[in-house]
């Protein structure tokens, strides 16, 4: 049986954010095929893909429609069967333009011939398969998984951490994954143990999700003696990579280094489960469980959505939006991205869609810093956000460097706890951009 371990160790700082996990008991419901989908060519960190289809082409479910020859990239597949109506230009969340394939669906959901249970006989082949599956980190970051799993020869990995912390308010999609799909998580872990040659797997879950901990720790499976479920203290940002690694292993990832530099690889639970599913069926990443919630949503739910579905369709599926909706957030309220349009599509790494009404979207006005130091206490990276804020607003590059601006993980704990409601992390992002500009 997978054993349960409780760890008292936790990272320093953080914030006691409200949980708002209202959808925890909402079983995933499958949403139908929308009238059209918009599939962006950039849904990951790395190089954008080039569309492989043109206007008028007929595409099927699982068909490769976008690819890049760059290493750090992930291929894009069609989530529907239908006709390509246009290749459009779309503004990405980072503000740059990207191409997107617009497909009018025919509702038949015909599966493409290329989709069949894959076979592999070596690690290299498995890695190539994972690349072809289009998998990116589903926790939110969207880093191409095959790149993360390609460990250089000189690095030794001894621990695989499976991240089920889900520390952001509202989001319960990973929690539902554990409850509904625990078997896939365990078989995904076994596939990864083989690939990475690790002897220890730690599944991290915050202690506010006892059901998930119970389910996973009662599973009997191959290698279950090498797998531990670790009960973590509920504290934001427990699921942040560096914090999670520290809480679970006591290892600290130095600034500018990767988890693999301390012998660890961190994978999100849903990503791990997807790998198991893909190896079974060969169906690439075309759908995603999304938590739909927020004060302006009529019927909060966990919904399985086809990638590329316009947000408006997802919200309509959940009983529609209230009239006073003021903000749409993709992701959690602490690190998610506000969306400019309800026509924007669901992406591979979308784990939540939140709609805030006028009242909840309104942030109190900023007032002067009173130097209380609460931001410094809250910063899990041990930074001094108040001074970063000062230097960012003064555009003082030297000051930004002195206070280690680039080490900020942008978790937003500082802004959350600030009694003067200063936009600390927001200004720090600005500071990072200033520093990058001055370096180039």
């Amino acid at each position: 049986m997978i054993s349960l371990r409780v760890t008292k160790r936790t990272f320093k700082g953080g914030a006691a954010v409200s949980h708002e996990k209202r959808t925890a008991d909402c079983e995933t419901i499958k949403m139908g095929v929308p009238e059209k989908v918009i599939i962006p060519m950039l849904q990951h960190i790395g190089a954008p893909c080039k569309p492989l289809v043109k206007k008028g082409d007929y595409v099927k479910v699982g068909q490769l429609i976008g690819q890049s020859d760059k290493y750090v990239s992930a291929p894009i597949h069609s989530s529907v069967s239908g006709t390509v109506t246009n290749i459009i230009s779309l503004v990405s969340s980072s503000g740059t333009y990207m191409e997107a394939v617009e497909i009018k669906t025919d509702g038949k959901q015909e599966v493409h011939e290329s989709v069949k249970p894959p076979e592999y006989s070596s690690d290299a082949e498995l890695l190539e398969l994972i690349k072809q599956s289009g998998l990116v980190g589903l926790g939110g970051a969207g880093f191409p998984t095959h790149v993360k799993l390609s460990v250089p020869k000189d690095k030794k990995i001894d621990i695989l951490i499976v991240n089920g912390a889900e520390c952001e308010p509202y989001i319960t999609s990973d929690y539902r994954e554990i409850l509904e799909n625990s078997w896939n998580i365990v078989s995904g872990i076994n596939i990864l143990m083989d690939l990475l040659k690790v002897e220890k797997v730690l599944i991290g879950i915050e202690d506010n999700k006892p059901e998930a901990i119970k389910i996973l720790s009662s599973i009997e499976a191959t290698n279950d003696d090498k797998i531990d479920v670790v009960k973590l203290k509920t504290r934001y940002p427990q699921g942040a990579e560096k914090m999670l690694i520290y809480s679970m292993t006591g290892r600290k990832v130095p600034p500018g280094k990767l988890p693999m530099d301390v012998g660890v690889i961190v994978m999100n639970v849903s990503s791990v489960a997807f790998i198991a599913e893909y190896v079974k069926t060969g169906m690439p990443l075309i759908k995603k469980r999304v938590t739909v919630d927020g004060p302006a949503v009529n019927k909060p739910a966990n919904v399985e959505v086809l990638i590329g579905t316009p947000l408006v369709d997802v919200f309509n599926f959940c009983g529609g939006l209230k009239d006073n909706v003021s903000k749409i957030i993709m992701g959690g309220p602490m690190m998610g991205v506000a969306q400019s349009s309800l026509n924007d599509p669901v992406l591979k790494n979308t784990n939540a869609l939140l709609a805030f009404d006028a009242e909840s979207a309104k942030l109190p006005p900023e007032s002067a810093c009173i130097r209380c130091g609460k931001c410094a206490e809250a910063c899990p990276m041990n930074l001094l956000p108040l001074f970063l804020n000062q230097n960012a607003l003064r555009e003082n590059i030297e000051g930004l460097k002195k206070f280690h601006v680039m080490d900020c993980i942008e978790c937003g704990s500082c802004s959350y706890v600030c009694p003067a409601k200063r936009r600390l992390v927001q200004s720090i992002r600005l500071g990072k951009a200033l520093l990058r500009k001055s370096n180039s």
Partner: protein
């Protein structure tokens, strides 16, 4: 609706703590000290506190109006300054001096240097220092207004200092000092009352224990070593309980604007305050040194902050 969607950088939510909430907590924490003042010195103390608060709030309002700044009196920080200023006055202080004190604290020390968070020294203590130099007689008149005919005694620390020369000065015992001994500044009377407020502030996480513990601890250690006739014979308990140490360590030295932001910096501040307090108490002509110690360390705060920038998480292993 499309065009009315708010676009802003995350986080999209914020916690419930506010500047106002913090300041109100400090005022709540000072209520026991005000009550002890009234208990020992009579209702006149209320007049001193109210005068001081009104003076501070009005000065804040008028100066912000003149300087065309946002009016921030609703954040309660001027109220805190007002109460602290009052608690640092002798009980028989003429009210007009209190009004001037409020002006000095808020206009000269706080607003002229940029308002909340920007002042370089504790407003109440800065004002007290100026008043001390300007009206020394009023500021060291320890008559008890509740009992004006009695000959005013020496403060506990004066008693300690004079003890060697004058035989008849009264030295209160520890319990008296702890529960309340009515000679000294209004807020110094009862250590018990101050501790109740201090513990409330710690419980509410308005202040961290770093400064109070390191400040009081340093004074205790140094007065034990150097405070007696021989080394290691000092009456450190008397030094903790007498004078403004507890008031200063919990309520004055912890002032956000004028103390360092990191725990390390705060400990340095506390130790610095403790050293200076002890030097003044033991080796200068003044019986008490808490306020000057805090003011001096206030001036060093920007420097302490500069030299205590923490290493980022994981940074200590960077070159390992």
């Amino acid at each position: 609706m499309e065009n009315s969607l708010i676009l802003s950088s995350s986080p999209h939510i914020t916690g419930g703590n506010t500047t106002k909430r913090i300041m109100i907590d400090v005022v709540i924490a000072l209520i026991p000290a005000i009550i002890s003042g009234v208990y020992f010195y009579g209702l006149r103390i209320l007049a001193v506190v109210i005068t001081s608060v009104i003076s501070c709030v009005l000065c804040e309002y008028i100066s912000q109006k003149i300087m065309k700044r946002n009016i921030t009196i609703s954040d309660f920080s001027a109220v805190v300054t007002g109460v602290l200023l009052a608690l640092n006055m002798p009980p028989a202080i003429p009210l007009w001096i209190v009004v001037i004190g409020g002006f000095l604290a808020i206009v000269l020390i706080k607003q002229l240097f940029g308002g909340i968070g920007q002042n370089f020294m504790n407003p109440a203590l800065g004002a007290r220092a100026i008043l001390m130099i300007s009206w020394a007689q009023h500021m060291t008149n320890w008559t008890n207004p509740a009992n004006p005919d009695a000959i005013s005694g020496a403060t506990p620390l004066e008693a300690l200092k004079k003890g060697a020369e004058v035989v008849e000065v009264i030295r209160p015992d520890y319990l008296e000092l702890f529960l309340g001994y009515p000679v000294g500044s209004i807020g110094e009377a009862s250590i018990l009352a101050l501790l109740i407020g201090g513990i409330y502030l710690l419980y509410r996480k308005v202040i961290s224990p770093a400064i109070p513990v390191s400040f009081i601890g340093t004074v205790a250690i140094l007065t034990f070593i150097f405070g007696g006739d021989r080394l290691f014979t000092g009456d450190f308990l008397y030094h903790i309980l007498a004078g403004g140490l507890v008031l200063g360590a919990f309520f004055m030295a912890t002032d956000y604007s004028t103390s360092p932001v990191t725990t390390k910096g705060r400990i340095i501040m506390g130790i610095g305050c403790g050293i200076i307090t002890t030097i003044i108490r033991l080796y200068s002509n003044y019986p008490e040194g808490v306020s000057f110690a805090i003011l001096l360390m206030n001036l060093l705060t920007p420097m302490i902050d500069r030299f205590t920038v923490p290493v980022s998480f994981g940074g200590e292993t960077k070159n390992a």
